[in-house]
């Protein structure tokens, strides 16, 4: 029995990647939950808008790299973030002007909004592919590892190694900082409170002199920031491929619904639950269990519940179970 090696192994292969993935999902799910509670519809264009935002950041990164501008040892993409955010704020506000505002004016049913966002999704997807193609783009530069497997092994003398990639560390730190700022904004500032008031009771917010169009603009702006951050961090971690971003729609919605739609805290908790469930169920536990099992009882199979290709099936199962048994989610959100 070597519990320490088991711990190192599970941390290296599951806990760290899941935590990073969960942080990326959380930023995306926060946007979904904000749009749902304030604009009152399920934003299906979320994944593809994230892809377009990341594409803008990649464009900015390549430009900066060509100029020889960088922030070693950090990835250049971080420097290009403001550009990506600016582009996406513009893009989302334009989408709102051209598409959603009309439906708000005629007080369309939420389902109409969802269909409209589906249309925006296709257009956004097309634009992204026009610029980026469908193949994978890697844009991570700078120092790749905080510490490598070899360094860890040499340092600790353990048989198992553990690595921490820069992209993962940056993801986790950024996500936590952004969440703190978002909660501060929503709970402490006048604009944030007016957003919550509008989400709570639209008519009374109007009566209190809160300008709905202003609330809408702030919401899209925050969403754009969250989207570009989530997309860029995901791309740094796993590489950029537009289709993967579309696929993120499912875990992001599952996270938002599991946590309780409309609850920012719920979106974060839901995102980590989804990430750990996906990784945990598709993880091959053999190595970890070999360290834990008594002599001679080591597992002979992979000890993997589902192949990695089925990770979205795990998310889908979570989504179905939540909708069947607790549609309001963990933190009593709204029902889709």
């Amino acid at each position: 029995m070597e519990p320490l090696n088991a711990l190192v192994s599970v941390t290296n292969f599951m806990l760290i990647p899941a935590f990073a993935y969960g942080s990326q999902l959380a930023l995306g799910a926060l946007g979904i939950t904000l749009i749902f509670s304030i604009l009152r519809f399920a934003h299906f264009a979320h994944g593809d808008t994230m892809a377009l935002g990341t594409a803008a950041v990649i464009g900015g990164t390549f430009f900066l790299q060509a100029q020889g501008i960088g922030i070693q040892p950090l990835p250049t993409a971080l420097l290009a973030l403001p550009f990506g955010i600016l582009v996406m704020v513009g893009y989302l506000l334009a989408a709102d002007r051209l598409v959603y505002r009309y439906y708000r004016k005629v007080k369309a049913k939420p389902m109409i909004f969802v269909m409209a966002s589906l249309g925006v999704m296709f257009v956004t997807n097309g634009i992204t592919r026009l610029f980026m193609g469908v193949s994978e783009t890697r844009f991570e530069d700078g120092q790749r590892f905080i510490f490598t497997v070899r360094e860890f092994r040499d340092f600790t003398g353990l048989a198992e190694g553990m690595a921490l990639r820069s992209a993962q560390a940056i993801t986790i730190i950024t996500a936590l900082v952004v969440m703190v700022i978002l909660f501060w904004f929503l709970n402490r500032t006048r604009a944030g409170k007016s957003m919550r008031a509008y989400s709570d009771n639209e008519d009374l917010a109007l009566l209190s002199g809160i300008n709905p169009e202003r609330v809408v603009v702030i919401t899209w702006t925050i969403t754009a920031i969250l989207l570009v951050l989530a997309g860029t961090l995901y791309g740094l971690d796993k590489g950029f491929r537009p289709f993967n971003y579309f696929q993120l729609l499912l875990p992001m919605f599952a996270a938002a619904i599991l946590g309780g739609l409309g609850s920012p805290l719920g979106a974060i908790v839901g995102a980590y639950v989804v990430a750990f469930a996906e990784m945990g169920i598709t993880f091959a536990w053999r190595r970890v269990l070999t360290y834990l099992a008594p002599e001679g009882m080591e597992p002979s199979s992979m000890m993997q519940l589902l192949p990695v290709d089925y990770k979205f099936a795990v998310t889908f199962a979570i989504l179905v179970i939540v909708l069947l048994f607790r549609p309001t989610g963990i933190f009593k959100g709204k029902v889709l």
Binding site: R190, K193, S194, R196, A197, S199, D200, N201, D203, L204, A205, L206, L207, S208, G209, I210
Partner: protein, 235 residues
């Protein structure tokens, strides 16, 4: 007529047939006016018309002599009218204090003194100021709703059935508070289901039937009027 707030000869509805027919509602400075009447008499509609939530075909609304008929409800709030809707009149997931802050949203000056006045009027709200308004009892929610409307320091406060769904004890308590508010010089216009109790505190009472004025008099006179008693107050 030169009442402080007056909806004069109002005729109109929500599109389609008129609900109000030549209906006049007025309230003097610092007085309490109560609109009573049977179900479907257009009580709430009359109040909404005064507040601009209903397009009038005829008649006008004047506040302190100024014609405000064309103004939106939001603009009327800016002119010093406070409105407490009958339902969904709070922000349930926000704390009591945040509800009051939202009430003061249009104010650019320091509103802490006003908040202090609201807490003095409704001491229970001070104790619960960090609690989500949606978790409070019915009576306390109404206090939050009235408090929110008072945050703009209105000259007229309009209440749509403030005592709907609260216990008789809480109702008496609310009426006492409303009298207190009126004593500070704020005019009160309210619609009430509990006609007898409401007329007892009213300076002016309006009995509406089918969207038109049937009886208009002081609260006391209406209570004493045998016709009103027989038809609307249950003998």
């Amino acid at each position: 007529m030169s009442a402080f707030l007056i909806g004069e000869a109002m005729t109109g509805g929500y599109g389609g047939a008129d609900i109000l027919h030549d209906c006049t509602i007025a309230v003097e400075k610092g007085e309490i006016a109560v609109i009573v009447g049977p179900n479907g008499a257009g009580k709430s509609t009359a109040m909404k018309a005064v507040f601009g939530m209903l397009r009038l075909r005829e008649g006008r609304v004047r506040l302190a002599g100024e014609d405000i008929t064309a103004l939106s409800p939001q603009a009327r709030v800016g002119k010093g009218m406070g409105f407490v809707p009958q339902t969904s009149n709070i922000f349930p997931s926000m704390s009591v204090e945040e509800n009051l802050e939202m009430g003061a949203f249009i104010r650019k000056d320091d509103f802490r003194a006003t908040m202090e006045q609201v807490y003095e009027l409704f001491p229970i709200l001070r104790d619960k100021r960090r609690q989500a308004a949606g978790e409070l009892s019915g009576g306390q929610r109404q206090q939050v709703a009235v408090g929110r409307a008072l945050m703009t320091q209105p000259s007229v406060l309009m209440l749509d059935e403030p005592t709907a769904g609260v216990s008789p004890i809480v109702m008496d308590e609310l009426f006492d508070r409303i009298i207190e508010i009126a004593r500070t010089g704020i005019s009160i216009l309210m619609v009430e289901q509990n006609a007898r109790q409401a007329l007892e505190i009213a300076d002016k009472g309006y009995v509406l039937v089918q969207g038109a004025n049937r009886y208009t008099d002081t609260g006391k006179a209406l209570l004493a009027d045998p016709d009103v008693r027989k038809s609307f107050l249950g003998g």
